[in-house]
């Protein structure tokens, strides 16, 4: 091959290499969320209530325990699963029972879930139950801008279910 042809072929191949990288490092544009949509992220980490209340040891049970382990109360480690329901404009869009973590089911229950919704005004109702009893509820009307993220979390320190 003549010299100038070799140089031309090399320039062409280097150019193709650069073009391939240059193009596919930014194109085509990826639409991670449709333009008129917003995102609800339902997520919490929360310990459910103990499955059984603490009770005093019976004298027989205490006798079987080594002296250094004779505590006044016996508490079961297992915790109840945490249930959550999310209603959007009157319809239930998410329902989940999060089991307690850990081998002995004594850890926290956790949830992370994405819900894609149309941007605009919505009535959102959330119900959370972490054991026997009434549980927690929160209801609100929110206006979601396109691409906005609304996080539905649970924090007992902040009064329970939070929207942020």
């Amino acid at each position: 091959m003549k010299d100038w042809r070799r140089w031309l072929a090399q320039a062409l191949l280097y150019g193709l290499f650069a073009l391939f990288i240059g193009v596919f490092s930014r194109w085509p544009t990826y639409q991670a969320l449709p333009p008129d949509q917003a995102l609800l992220k339902v997520s919490f980490i929360h310990h459910g209530q103990h499955v059984a209340p603490c009770r005093p040891y019976t004298p027989d049970e205490l006798a079987k325990l080594p002296p250094n382990m004779r505590a006044p109360l016996k508490c079961d480690r297992a915790r109840a699963p945490v249930e959550i329901e999310v209603d959007l404009d009157g319809a239930t869009v998410f329902r989940h029972v999060a089991p307690a973590g850990g081998l002995s089911h004594d850890g926290a229950s956790s949830v992370y879930h994405r819900l894609q919704v149309a941007a605009g005004e919505h009535r959102i109702a959330v119900r959370l139950k972490d054991g026997p009893g009434a549980g927690y509820t929160r209801e609100a009307t929110v206006r979601l801008a396109p691409a906005q993220v609304l996080v539905i979390d649970f924090d007992p320190q902040k009064g329970g279910i939070t929207f942020s």
Binding site: G15, I21, W27, Y30, A108, A147, V149
Partner: protein, 475 residues
């Protein structure tokens, strides 16, 4: 597939020259880009403010340096994948190549993990999208007690978490470098730097790309909203759309299947391999030439069991031996001048005896002797009463003294046919043969052998015309 690949190689040979053909040096090019990534990465790290707030500000919206690092990563992934595909198409993954194949396949996910982690450090909208998508993808695995994606929910990412992201992008590349070292451990004289011209061309191309098209920024991260339309780097971040189009679990399954298939490929039963090289302790003096020349690092030196005074003995690791015979060509004992009816050499292939080659040269009575490689141009096509054709497993098996011997036995001329540079089935055959015959490498061809009476011709399979043409010129 091989003839097509060879034809493509020849087109690239025409443009770049056989020695600088990028298709034959994809692994070396990947190494080059890895060094580029390390150099640009160190400078970028010096400039980076390692906090979530400061990272975006410190690196800026773009710049050639970041572009060079980014496009370098794209090029690294591209070259590594092309390298893998080429080796697969050439059937170079089993037997003595199993180690290199397996380590190479393991490096692929590590490479992408390193690259994906790099996008987070700029902490722009693309980094935010990638970090969140990666966390959501990882949450599909049953290992995590609480969702990782919760780290990217409220307000801003904390500096402690950001430091962890920085650590990931420092730790994984270090692991990658270590993996690359392991990858070439069973390769003798591994090429970890391409030909100078090719290296310069590649670096210049990436630099020009970075200057013409600086790495862009998607604006600072904001966890209160989703980056909806993103200029995604499809070469490195393809896994995020894949997980969204299918599901996180399906993507894990798909990638695990692909990885398992690639890892199991070398274990698929194939036709039995040829006998490996054997060392004859009576004729090996432990000079180490075979160790230096073995293309797959299959030979080591151990203390000689029968000799004293620190004499060593070559030892062949059977699993790594390619049965190419290059060690026989390197062995000083592979000399046709040795006395004895049987030509015994220090290291030899039991099924490809040099004694038979010597016998052919003695009884040949022809004008021209042609030594060739069974993977290169077919010598059978030269059928002629005046030609003695000797086919070897690789041209590197030819001890230079056999050229001298052939001439002294009555041959007018000797032609040595090798594969084209970079096209050797056993990597180094043509290079060692040429260097030995030109007196640049041990064992050398004697200097007083007239250069006009022998010639080396690079000719791949299918290029028999080249050989015939060289033969006519010699005659």
């Amino acid at each position: 597939m091989r003839p097509w690949l060879r034809a493509l190689d020849h087109r690239f040979d025409d443009a770049f020259g056989a020695g600088a053909n990028p298709l034959k040096q994809l692994g070396a090019l990947a190494f080059l880009v890895l060094w580029l990534l390390a150099a640009t990465g160190i400078v970028l790290y010096a400039l980076l403010e390692t906090s979530a707030e400061g990272a975006y500000r410190s690196i800026g919206a773009g710049g050639a340096l970041r572009g060079l690092h980014r496009y370098g990563a794209d090029a690294f992934a591209l070259l590594a994948v092309l390298h893998l595909v080429r080796e697969w198409l050439l059937g170079r993954y089993a037997g003595f190549r199993r180690h290199s194949w397996t380590t190479g396949v393991i490096l692929l996910p590590l490479l992408f993990a390193c690259a994906i982690g790099g996008f987070w450090l700029h902490w722009d909208r693309l980094g935010q999208f990638s970090a969140t998508a990666t966390a959501e993808w990882l949450d599909a695995l049953p290992f995590f007690e609480s969702p990782l994606a919760r780290n990217f929910l409220h307000g801003a990412v904390g500096d402690r978490l950001f430091s962890l992201l920085v650590f990931i992008h420092l730790g994984l590349p270090l692991l990658l470098v270590f993996g690359c070292w392991a990858h070439v451990q069973r390769i003798g004289t591994a090429r970890v730097f391409p030909r100078r011209g090719l290296a310069a061309g590649t670096l210049l191309t990436l630099l020009l790309l970075a200057l013409v098209l600086p790495a862009h920024s998607e604006g600072p991260a904001d966890l209160a909203s989703v980056p909806s339309a993103i200029a995604l780097d499809w070469l490195l971040l393809f896994v995020h759309p894949l997980a969204q189009w299918t599901s996180a679990a399906a993507t894990w399954g798909l990638l695990a299947l692909a990885l398992a298939a690639l890892l199991l490929l070398p274990f698929v039963p194939r036709q039995s391999s040829e006998p490996v090289a054997q060392v004859d302790p009576a004729h090996c003096n432990g000079c180490g030439l075979c160790v230096a020349d073995c293309p797959f690092a299959a030979i080591t030196l151990v203390p000689h069991p029968a000799r004293r005074g620190g004499v060593q003995l070559a030892q062949v690791r059977a699993a790594s031996c390619a049965s190419c015979g290059i060690c026989t060509g390197a062995c000083p004992s592979s000399s046709p001048w040795r006395k004895g009816t049987i030509l015994a050499t220090g290291i030899a292939l039991p099924h490809r005896s040099l004694a038979r080659v010597r016998e052919r040269l003695r009884t040949g009575g022809a004008c021209i002797v042609v030594f060739g490689c069974e993977h290169g141009a077919r010598l059978e096509s030269l059928a002629d009463a005046k030609v003695v054709a000797v086919t070897l497993p690789c041209s590197g098996m030819l001890p230079p003294s056999f050229v001298d011997y052939a001439l002294r036995q009555g041959a007018d001329r000797v032609l040595v046919s090798t594969c084209r540079e970079g096209g050797c089935e056993f990597r180094l055959g043509p290079r060692w043969t040429t260097e030995r015959l030109h007196g640049e490498r041990e064992p050398r061809l004697r200097a007083d052998v007239p250069a006009a009476r022998w010639r080396v011709v690079p000719a791949d399979a299918g290029e028999e015309d080249r050989l015939r043409e060289a033969l006519e010129t010699l005659q």
